[in-house]
């Protein structure tokens, strides 16, 4: 019962925009152990934590927090740290003029993509918007190739023609990297359509933000995905600000897990700062999609520490808010603390991991700095493919 009451209180406060982010995360943590409500029938809106579903089943709030083994925590730590250090370096290189145009950093949100990847299988596709460096690294794309694309060099994943927002790897099933807000949602639904068409049992992990969640084509895609029971998990990375606009200034319904309710798509809110909670929810969502039940929505409650892009003075939020998130909810620090406290990992071992990550990032930066720009002849290549003969 406690959960359901909490959920109600939460919903009321949050919808009025009075709740602090911290309160929200606590509320999510308190109920995150509960299994989501599954959509029993197409007509019935499903919610992760409707009062009814929670009734009589809720145990002590925090006792069911999903746990990681030592190896899983070490893996998550390494992977998240790589993204963090990579992004810091990218920010630095932007400041030096080596990276041009737009550059959107993923710092603070690392647990989302790493937790999702820990629940996915080979062959599952990933597609996202323009804040995409973390997703690429999480998919196993090389740091060198990503960084060299940021610097517009020939060794970049798009041979220097795409830049920060437009990178792809067919080999790693990463389908971009899209600069038009929301476009990746229809495209990701199309990837799921192809999975369904081929019957190859793979799933499309389609990421977008709280801002993109207000685009019309998102709902067109929700409708088709549920209508045709396509294997797609919609991962809404709610980092609280669409550029400079806070969620409650742009959204009539700020509970993004309910955005599929009118289509009967189940959804849940997840503490996106806790990689264990992310992986746990991802396992449920991906299983749902893979087993032919159709799409699933995960609202990842997360936070970006940096500005929207490099030229964002971030006057729409207080320094205090950012500082508190960093100090109290940092996804990497959480894992690091656990490694030390629960798994007795020594400082030396952690330092060795840090050093290894720094080495990878420095190598990428070095490569991306000295790799030549594309040959001028590249201007006219890759516009059209040659048709096969016959």
């Amino acid at each position: 019962m406690r959960d359901s009451v909490l959920a109600k209180v939460f919903a009321i406060l949050y919808n009025k925009g009075r709740m602090t982010l911290e309160d929200r995360l606590m509320a999510v943590a308190a109920r995150k152990s509960k299994a989501p409500a599954q959509s029993k029938s197409a007509g019935k809106p499903a919610r992760a934590r409707s009062a009814k579903d929670g009734a009589g089943k809720a145990g002590p709030a925090l006792s069911n927090t999903p746990t990681f083994t030592k190896e899983e925590d070490l893996h998550a730590y390494r992977e998240m740290l790589l993204i963090r250090r990579f992004e810091e370096k990218a920010g630095q290189m932007y400041g030096m003029g080596l990276i041009g145009g737009f550059c959107h950093l993923y710092i603070g949100q690392e647990a989302v993509v790493i937790g999702m990847q820990m629940a996915s299988k080979d062959g599952d596709q990933v597609i996202t918007g323009y804040r995409d460096h973390g997703h690429m690294l999480a998919c196993g794309m090389e740091s060198r190739g990503v960084m060299a694309e940021l610097t517009g060099r020939r060794g970049g994943y798009s041979r220097g023609k795409g830049g920060s927002m437009h990178m792809f790897s067919r080999e790693k099933n990463f389908y971009g990297g899209h600069g038009i807000v929301g476009a990746q949602v229809s495209l990701g639904t199309g990837l799921a359509f192809a999975d369904w068409y081929r019957g190859d049992n793979t799933v499309s992990l389609t990421y977008f933000g709280d801002g993109a969640a207000n685009q019309g084509q998102v709902y067109e895609s929700f409708n088709m995905a549920q209508l045709w029971k396509l294997p797609v998990v919609f991962v809404i990375e709610n980092n609280r600000y669409a550029m400079g606009t806070a969620v409650n200034r742009a959204s009539a319904q700020t509970d993004f897990s309910r955005r599929g309710a009118s289509f009967g798509i189940p959804g849940e809110q997840v503490d996106g700062m806790d990689v264990r909670a992310v992986r746990d929810a991802a396992l449920r969502a991906i299983e749902h999609a893979r087993s032919g039940k159709g799409p699933y929505i995960l609202e990842m409650q997360t936070y970006r520490y940096r500005g929207h892009s490099m030229s964002d003075p971030a006057k729409y939020r207080s320094k205090d808010e950012v500082q508190r998130m960093r100090e109290e909810h940092d996804p990497i620090e959480q894992v690091r603390a656990r490694l030390v406290r629960e798994f007795k990992i020594g400082e030396d071992e952690l330092k060795a991991i840090d050093a290894k990550v720094r080495e990878i990032v420095n190598d990428a930066a070095e490569f991306a700095t000295h790799d030549p720009e594309p040959d001028p002849s590249e201007l006219f290549t890759d516009i059209l493919l040659e048709p096969a003969q016959g």
Partner: protein, 472 residues
């Protein structure tokens, strides 16, 4: 090793800024992410974060300094006890050797681009040789093939059915394509033959299903996306342009998008402005797309088959009025018409009339009328707008020295505007008169029957234009 803190650029255009305030002082411990200073530009105040941990060993640029150039070392971070003099800032030559100096680099780049434009022929916009050669379409019909009469509608349907039989990755989706058998009956019978998995009725949701189609194509399937009319594709145009057309380039050649967007385009009859727009010029403006506009049933079939097999996104513009018109075409499923080749449909010597799609009705009608007055017009059907077979047009103009271009679309930035310009570039010296054009009028399509008729081109206008360029 000590690390320089450099004056950061906050935007691609920032060249200098003011170091407003240091938030740390020399000797302070800093870790990655700590805010160490504030800088100001004319647009914003921004915080500088430490990217490494260590001690702020030295401040090189003091609080309040104006006009600090981007990349100037402003401070040094060192590990405890490290010798700061080893920082790169102590040796100006070592500072950012790899950051290109944009001003010095630019002319070299331009020269290189100019040079490369002369090199690979396939890699630059089409050029026309001094002696242009017309494409010979006479061998497109296989020798000895049985010739049958068929409507454009049936030809399109057969093209899709044949390609779906040939390749299981081909499917068709759109509004009313399956159970309703096609809003204009173009997909008639496909559901019965191929089933609901390959002939898919979509909700009325153009933006969404265009995106779904493009996503499926990026993963390797070959969708045929039918728009009930291309007017509705306006809702989907972002996915067509930004996703379908550009992704191959933006992915460095990794992500092809083998998709066909097809459906009726342009004016039908009495459906007014929102259902009558001709989009040939719009799509022809976009690198990464092919744009096909067939006129006859044989071209509709042969070109649609080529479009489905093409590894690129193809915009296939049909016309409702033409669906019921019959033409001869060869029987059999191996008949293809290449994309990017025009066709001389009526040879002549006095004036070239070039058009495409339903515009061919005016071109051919005018040629007949002109013949009665002793003017032999050579009529060319472009068939593909992008890539445009301007060589076939130029070859004709080199012979006739006069040209009239005809389209139903609007005049400004239209396809005929492009044709005129390309002829001027490639065959100016051959022209005995300025290229003339006959287009739809520069007004939204009216509903009233008399006004609609006035808004469209007609044979009389083409005849008059042809006579004008012949000075008759």
């Amino acid at each position: 090793m000590p690390i320089d803190i450099l004056m950061p650029a906050l935007s691609p255009t920032m060249e200098e800024g003011k170091l407003a305030k240091w938030l740390k002082k020399e000797g302070d411990q800093v870790k990655a992410g700590d805010i160490i200073a504030e800088i100001e530009t004319d647009k914003a105040t921004m915080e500088v974060e430490a990217v490494d941990e260590g001690v702020l060993a030295k401040i090189l640029v003091a609080d309040g300094t104006e006009n600090v150039a981007v990349n100037t070392p402003i401070g040094i971070i060192a590990a405890d006890g490290e010798d700061v003099s080893k920082a790169a800032a102590a040796d100006p030559a070592k500072i950012n050797p790899a950051v290109p100096a944009p001003a010095a680099e630019a002319p070299k780049q331009e020269a290189a681009v100019a040079a490369s434009a002369d090199a690979p022929a396939a890699s630059k916009p089409d050029t026309v040789p001094a002696q242009a050669k017309a494409y010979d379409a006479s061998s497109e019909f296989p020798a000895g093939a049985e010739i049958v009469s068929m409507t454009v509608r049936e030809a399109l349907r057969d093209a899709m059915a044949e390609e779906m039989r040939r390749d299981k990755d081909v499917f068709v989706m759109g509004e009313e394509v399956a159970e309703y058998q096609g809003a204009y009956k173009v997909t008639q019978g496909l559901l019965q033959e191929f089933g609901a998995k390959r002939v898919i009725d979509t909700p009325i949701t153009e933006h969404g299903f265009a995106g779904v189609g493009v996503g499926a194509a990026l993963s390797g399937l070959k969708p045929i996306v039918e728009f009930m009319t291309f007017n509705f594709a306006m809702q989907a145009i972002d996915q067509i342009i930004n996703s379908a057309a550009k992704t191959l380039y933006m992915s460095g050649g990794q992500m092809g998008c083998p998709i066909v967007f097809r459906g009726p385009n342009g004016a039908a009859a009495r459906v007014a402005a929102q259902h009558s727009h001709d989009y040939a010029a719009w799509y022809s403006n976009v690198p990464g797309l092919k744009v096909v506009v067939p006129y006859s049933a044989s071209d509709a079939k042969g070109l649609l088959k080529s479009a489905i097999r093409d590894p690129n996104p193809v915009i296939f513009l049909e016309n409702e009025i033409m669906y019921g018109k019959s033409f001869d075409l060869p029987k059999g499923d191996d008949f293809l018409v290449p994309i990017g080749k025009a066709k001389v449909v009526r040879p002549g010597t006095d004036v070239t009339i070039v058009s495409f799609g339903i515009g061919m009705n005016y071109a051919l009608g005018a040629a007949e009328a002109l013949a009665k007055d002793g003017i032999e017009a050579e009529v060319i059907d472009l068939r593909t707008i992008r890539p445009m077979d301007i060589e076939t047009v130029v070859a004709s103009v080199q012979k006739t020295n006069r040209c009239v271009a005809v389209e139903e679309g609007f005049p400004q930035s239209g396809v005929t505007a492009e044709i005129g310009m390309r002829i001027m570039e490639a065959a100016f010296d051959y022209l005995d008169a300025p290229v003339a054009r006959v287009t739809g009028k520069d007004v939204p399509m009216p509903y009233a029957a008399n006004l609609e008729k006035l808004a469209l081109p007609n044979i009389g206008e083409v005849v008059a234009a042809a006579k004008a360029v012949c000075y008759r």
